[in-house]
């Protein structure tokens, strides 16, 4: 993943960059599988590696495949800023409990109740689904609205322009 990330930064030809981001997502999905988060890995593989790569390629077809180079004078402050941000983020993870630690705060609050009670209350083998759709039904409803809004936004920005331009084309053809 590190090699892929460096390649994404260095390569200027955006077509390769898009393919490499797909590869990056696929590797992330593999890591999620190793961490036993199969549902998340599923989503990452389908959305990150699949659909978003195709959408990026579609965007490239509309715009350009060459990245604009920025001047060297800007690179030094940007590097300092990103190193500081990375250091702060790593410092933040130092306080976090170890992976798989049963005493972590997240496992003390509602997780035991979900795991123990969902067999009696919902009786589904996949606890992820019962948490997602039932215990956290409001959140999932909100996520559905987010996707709905995203599609509406895309339609509002570029979906209608096509029809208008078609009309213009027809008018232009009628004139000539």
């Amino acid at each position: 993943m590190l090699i892929t990330a460096f390649a994404i930064i260095r390569i200027r030809y955006l077509f390769s960059v898009v393919i490499l981001t797909g590869l990056f997502s696929l590797l992330a999905a593999a890591i999620y599988v190793l961490m036993d988060a199969v549902d998340v890995a599923f989503t990452e593989a389908a959305v990150g590696a699949g659909v978003s790569t195709v959408l990026m390629l579609g965007t490239l077809a509309l715009t350009t495949t060459e990245e604009k180079t920025t001047s060297k004078s800007r690179a030094v402050p940007a590097a300092i800023l990103s190193i500081i941000t990375g250091a702060v983020l790593i410092y933040g993870t130092l306080e976090m409990p170890n992976y798989g630690d049963g005493k972590a705060p997240i496992h003390q609050h509602v997780a035991p109740r979900y795991l123990n009670q969902s067999a009696q209350e919902i009786d589904l083998p996949n606890v992820v689904t019962s948490v997602l759709a039932s215990y956290r039904g409001y959140d999932t409803l909100g996520e559905t609205f987010v996707i709905f809004t995203a599609a509406m936004g895309v339609l509002a920005i570029i979906g209608r322009g096509r029809r208008r331009r078609k009309k213009e084309d027809v008018e232009r053809e009628a004139k000539t």
Binding site: T43, G50, N126, A133, R162, D169
Partner: protein, 147 residues
Amino acid sequence: MKRADMRIMQHRVILRVISKFLIPFILLFGLYVQWHGDFGPGGGFQAGVIFAAAFILYALIFGVDKTRQAVPAWITRGGLAVGVLIYAGVGVATLFLGENFLDYNALAHDPIHGQHLGILLVELGVGVTVCCAMITIFIAFTGRGRK
């Protein structure tokens, strides 16, 4: 047809045959993930994306116009709203049945059956919205470059 065009068509024969062969299986896998999300990994979101991926593959190989013939704009745009309405409608239905919003216990006589039914309907709503959103966004992007 020019000779160069014909050569491109010949190159695409493999892609066309293989994708036509694959698309039914992708759709079937999407449905499996949709309805089997209760028992294994998966659910409405993943199923919607896989289902949409089949249409996107079709659009990549056969062009946007043919895809629009298969799924007209009113289906995907309507589906966007229908999915959200199914989800919110389940919530409103539980309200009318005398429980809290999105409390599926009220949907059937047995609370567990109610939960099963509620989760199934809600996942269906998520799947429909996600699938239609992906197709809509993809076609909006690719259809724009066309003259």
